[in-house]
């Protein structure tokens, strides 16, 4: 399975119905909080939480698996390198040349690796549950120019298309006897040139066609534009906003005064 899905997954869950600005706030606060901790248990708790939200919002299980597949190599790489190469403040179990391993290191490596996955999940939680229209409306409501929102929405819209195109191009070049499976890393990397260049040319062409299509549909006819849908900030959205801000405030207070989450294994050091 490749990145050939639309990111947005239609649904009627509370998360789907929440205002896009609230979801953006959640993403920003959760990311900020995640970036300040390196406690394995808290990261696992955060992962469990975001999984709960994703599945609760009716996101299909394959999509969740897909995020894991995409992030897992990075997670493992970081976890292993960190665990082995970082000096440990504790008595190591194993020392060999410049490599040392301890429970502390291992937990810290895992925590930092899994943090990447958790950050990815938080961002995808936003993208999976917010449709393009709301995304743009949310950004415009926050004061960004419409074209910025449109650009972001278009990038998201064409990401899966580019994924498909990349796959087809790779198939077409292989059908001309391009072998991607033989030789060392350098030769294999070189074998990707015909694919990348064709991809670039074909993307430029698509971009040009999209820009013609946008103009033909009156983009920029007036200095302003109107919208079919309006965002409504419901009482629930206010409640969520207050909740998110409060939780973030409490978290940072605990983080700064009590050192919450600074030790890889001990929650309250």
């Amino acid at each position: 399975m490749s990145l050939t899905y639309d990111l947005y997954q239609p649904g009627q869950s509370p998360l789907h119905r929440a205002d896009p600005r609230v979801k953006l706030l959640l993403t920003v606060c959760a990311s900020a909080a995640l970036l300040t901790i390196q406690n394995l248990w808290l990261i696992l708790l955060a992962l469990a939480g975001v999984h709960g939200l994703l599945l609760g919002a009716g996101i299909r299980r394959e999509r969740v698996v897909w995020i894991w597949r995409v992030t897992l190599p990075t997670v493992l790489l970081i976890a292993i390198l960190w665990a082995l190469l970082n000096p440990t403040p504790e008595e190591p179990w194993l020392v060999w040349w410049f490599v040392s391993l301890s429970a502390y290191n291992l937990a810290q490596g895992l925590a930092i690796g899994l943090r990447i996955a958790a950050l990815a999940f938080v961002v995808f939680l936003w993208l999976f549950t917010t449709d393009q229209v709301e995304l743009v409306l949310g950004l415009v409501a926050l004061g960004l120019p419409y074209t910025w929102g449109l650009t972001l929405a278009m990038a998201l819209r064409y990401l899966p298309t580019m994924g498909s195109a990349f796959r087809t191009i790779s198939e077409a070049q292989q059908a001309r006897a391009l072998d991607l499976t033989q030789g060392g890393p350098v030769r294999r990397a070189k074998a990707y040139i015909p694919i990348t260049v064709a991809m670039l040319i074909s993307s430029l062409r698509t971009t040009q066609h999209v820009s013609y299509a946008l103009e033909s549909r009156a983009l920029g006819a007036l200095p302003y534009r109107t919208y079919l849908h309006q965002l409504r900030f419901r009482p629930l959205d206010w409640a969520l906003t207050v909740g998110i801000l409060l939780a973030t405030g409490i978290f940072f207070w605990a983080r700064l005064t009590l050192g919450l989450g600074t030790h890889p294994l001990v929650v309250w050091p």
Binding site: M1, T4, Y5, S164, A165, T168, I169, E171, A172, Q173, Q174, A175, R176, A177, L178, D179, L180, T181, Q182, I193, P194, I195, V197, A198, I201, S202, R205
Partner: protein
């Protein structure tokens, strides 16, 4: 020695990719030097089927054998030595700085000698009237020319089996006729041709065998004469015979044979009937 089919498809099931229509059990034998047309609506599984012929897709269940070799055991790059595949959109392959280079890419990958590569390139440039554009970047050419470049780039590899996905889409009449003359000539030289198309006239005129796909299965197969008389099957696949055939079938009560495929055969049959009933 028994004659080995070019392609043997046995119990092929494919349902892995959410983007592609699934195949629900396909059995098919394509003889060496066959000229096969594959027709059906979009989403019927035509392209999914033919993408198995050069190993782009591997069966979920069942086997696809190309000259006796299981496609699971070879990479697409290796399969390309015997199977050529012309994709529908030329922009999915054009990347070189000149048309000449673009056409040379395949033969070079096959490891052919420089002399042979040069000879073949010249032949392909002539065959598709691309000589004047040999030193121009193919990406800046118009759609029709880009399409020709992409076909020439596979033609030049002279594959024993040639698969063409909608080869005439976007080509004008003259270029389409020219292309099909080349394909017919390759068939006459002994190559096996597989043509995927929505153009019933094209299939009726050139193919010797036709397979109708619907919902991941083969609905009917046979000669074009046979298949274009299978009204129920064609209707189920939302297809209609070429206009001349449809007309002959409407005039069946006057004695027009329902397997009339071309203008020439219509005229002949018409002449015979007129002689019989002056």
């Amino acid at each position: 020695m028994t004659t080995q089919p070019a392609i043997a498809v046995q119990g092929l099931v494919y349902r892995y990719d959410p983007e592609l229509p699934a195949l629900e059990g396909v059995d098919l034998e394509i003889a060496n030097n066959a000229y096969l047309g594959v027709i059906g609506q979009n989403g019927s599984g035509k392209t999914t089927l033919v993408k198995h012929f050069n190993g782009l897709l591997k069966p979920t269940e069942g086997h696809v054998l190309v000259f006796g070799m299981d496609t699971r055991q070879a990479s697409v790059g290796q399969m390309a030595h015997s199977v050529g595949y012309v994709f529908q959109n030329p922009d999915h392959q054009i990347f070189c700085a000149t048309t000449r280079e673009e056409i040379a890419f395949g033969p070079r990958n096959l490891g052919l000698s420089d002399d042979l590569v040069q000879e073949r390139i010249q032949d392909a440039l002539d065959a598709f009237a691309l000589g004047p554009y040999a030193d121009v970047p193919p990406a800046v050419l118009g759609y029709g020319l880009r399409r020709k470049v992409s076909i020439a780039a596979v033609y030049v590899m002279r594959p024993q089996i040639l698969i063409l996905d909608e080869p005439t889409a976007g080509l004008d009449r003259r270029s389409a006729d020219e292309l099909m003359r080349r394909v017919d000539a390759m068939h006459a030289e002994g190559h096996t041709i597989v043509l995927v198309s929505h153009d019933m006239q094209l299939v009726a005129t050139h193919c010797r065998e036709v397979v109708v796909m619907d919902e991941g299965r083969i609905l009917v197969q046979g000669t074009p004469e046979e298949v274009f008389q299978e009204h129920a099957a064609l209707a189920r696949a939302s297809l209609a015979p070429p206009p001349v055939t449809a007309l002959a079938q409407r005039l069946a009560d006057l004695g027009m044979p329902g397997h009339t495929l071309t203008i020439e055969s219509f005229c002949q049959a018409y002449g015979r009937i007129r002689e019989a009933h002056p």
